[in-house]
């Protein structure tokens, strides 16, 4: 069982994840249409790069846009979730050990205590995001099974990983659950709203080019989009 889910199933999950994400990006770029989008992507290259970078950086830096600044509580939850969700799994020493032993790849790691707190941060933020979804009418009306399902799939590996690390109850059970939920997450990313893992970058670059070249970026540095 363990051999299977950490062997062929893991390979399959990674394949689906990488091929799926790559396909999303390729199709996104291939389908951009200068006439229909009314954006000239291939002229004004310098302005386009500037606009794209401005768009990405402004939105990736906490409180970098007015939208983040006017909603500080949500912004904190958002970054607590996303920073932990990206950094903890990539630099977890337990993951690095597997990489090293299986393929001889050595990666830098975070101290376990930091990874642990990042994981707790992800779980706390996810709970906060769910509560917010139900108590704010303007978010409740936008909430469907798709949003809740994506959140559940995204958080499951962190909850199970946390349980396994702290050896709560049957640690073998939690370890298996962690691996399976991690694989589910990898497979789900291309097929759910979690595809924003790559489409966020596509969309922000596109709108950055749009505003950077066409809609005022050549005249005003202040457009934070």
């Amino acid at each position: 069982m363990y051999q299977f889910i950490t062997g062929p199933l893991l390979w399959l999950s990674f394949t689906i994840f990488f091929v799926g994400c790559f396909t999303h990006v390729v199709l996104y770029i291939k389908d951009l249409d200068e006439a229909l989008d009314r954006v000239s992507y291939t002229t004004h290259i310098g302005w386009a790069i500037r606009g794209a970078l401005w768009s990405l950086i402004s939105w990736m830096v906490p409180f970098g846009t007015r939208s983040w600044r006017v909603k500080p509580v949500y912004t904190l939850m958002f970054y607590l979730f996303h920073i932990g969700a990206v950094i903890a799994p990539l630099f977890l020493s337990a993951h690095a050990v597997i990489l090293e032993s299986r393929w001889g790849i050595s990666v830098p790691t975070l101290p376990d205590v930091v990874a642990d707190w990042l994981t707790v941060g992800v779980i706390v933020a996810a709970v906060g995001v769910v509560i917010r979804r139900f108590i704010l009418p303007e978010v409740r009306i936008l909430t469907t099974d798709r949003e809740l399902g994506a959140l559940f799939i995204a958080v499951a590996p962190f909850v199970t990983g946390c349980m396994a690390y702290h050896q709560v109850g049957d640690s073998t059970y939690w370890t298996l659950a962690h691996i399976l939920s991690g694989e589910l997450l990898l497979v789900a990313i291309p097929f759910t709203k979690l595809s924003h893992l790559v489409l966020f970058f596509c969309s922000r670059v596109q709108i950055g080019i749009d505003f950077g070249t066409k809609r005022g970026g050549m005249k005003s540095v202040g457009m934070p989009v």
Binding site: L36, D37, S40, T65, E138, R140, S195, D210, K219
Partner: protein, 461 residues
Amino acid sequence: MPEGIFCNRKSIDTKEGLQEFMTDKGGAAYYKEMESLEVNVPALKAELKRTLKSRLKTWLNTCQGCGLCADSCFFYLANDKDPKQVPSYKIQSTLGEMVRRKGEVDTPFMIHCMDVAWGQCTCCNRCTLYCPMGIDMGVMFSYLRGLLYSQGFVPWEMKIGSGMHRVYRAQMDITTEDWVDTCEWMEEETEEEWPGLKIPIDQEDADIIYTVNAREPKHYPGDLADAAILFHLAGEKWTVPSEGWEETSLAMFAGDWEAAKMQVKSVYSAIDRLKPKRMVVTECGHAYRATVIEGPYWAGIKDGKPPVETLHYVEWVAEALRTGKLKIDPAKRIKEPVTYHDSCNYIRNAGLANDARYIMSMIAEDFREMTPNREHNFCCGGGGGLNGIGRYRKERNTGMIVKRDQILATGAKLVITPCHNCWDAIRDLEEVYKIGIRWSFLKPYLVKMAVVPDHLQHLEE
């Protein structure tokens, strides 16, 4: 009834067609017919397949439903934070639903889409600035308007507007002769006071070709005279084209992309014909957006720029003040508190915030910004064609509450706005809410306070 006499999928292409269409006062019969206008599902499916590409698909599919767009929408704020006014909800329940159903939609659904696309969104693009995913719901509603127009589900006044562009290459029934007459009339009216002033028509190789909003020759010819005075004072070598003088595009608001293309092409041919160095557009937001920002794409210009460098009026004024072509008499500056309203169409679609601030610093002693301002300014409440649509008057008046409160918070009683649509909305806002404000374009104040150079004569009446 597949198609009605008034309400159908055909565009209005003739003068007679327009006249007949307008016999249905207020569109009473038109909207009645719309209730039984059948949706051409195969055509809608085909159009979705042809035009719904990666950008729109991604915008629709990757909205995470975070709700950050809610507070960015003046309709949401003005309607007591009604969740049904959240931008994401509005687009998902209309265009999103249409796409999910793959175009298999019925007449009541299309009428609902029309009511949301024109009555609950002015395409002000403000929500785009608040979306972490960079989803532009203004652009999506504009796209939806195009789909609705092609199926005949368009507000009555918008159908007239796009028909006007098709017939007159102007948003109103103004012929070339009417326009030229107005220019000559304004020249005659003005030259007594300003000896030597000319409104040059069809001069080739001018430094500036000046283009306007049809409302100016139709209702406010004095605006054209003011523009002429300011060009005269600044010593500009300018001209107006006898054809291709209209910058506005109700076709853009209507989603009639074919008419939008016809309209901008008329302006671009005037440029080709007269070969001016630059173009200056009157004080109008959507006109600038239509002809300068979107127009090149409709006309198929690869680099997305108009044939010559084009300035909005605020850019020309700022440049004239900076270079000293126009000088302001400091004693005549506006003394009372004054605020300034940025038009969505040039502030979020052309980045003209700084020039406007520079002008205000030169002409006003007590300039008070609205909060928020610049790129984050709220729509006047009447943008995107909403001002002119009788069916959504109540929605428009409710939406204006946000602008009303922004103005009141400044304490100023005078609002300057270099945009016809905003000017109208602020006028109507005063009519509805009676908050004791006045409103103006820039030109009347500039004419009053500009210094007359020594070599020019000014014979005051």
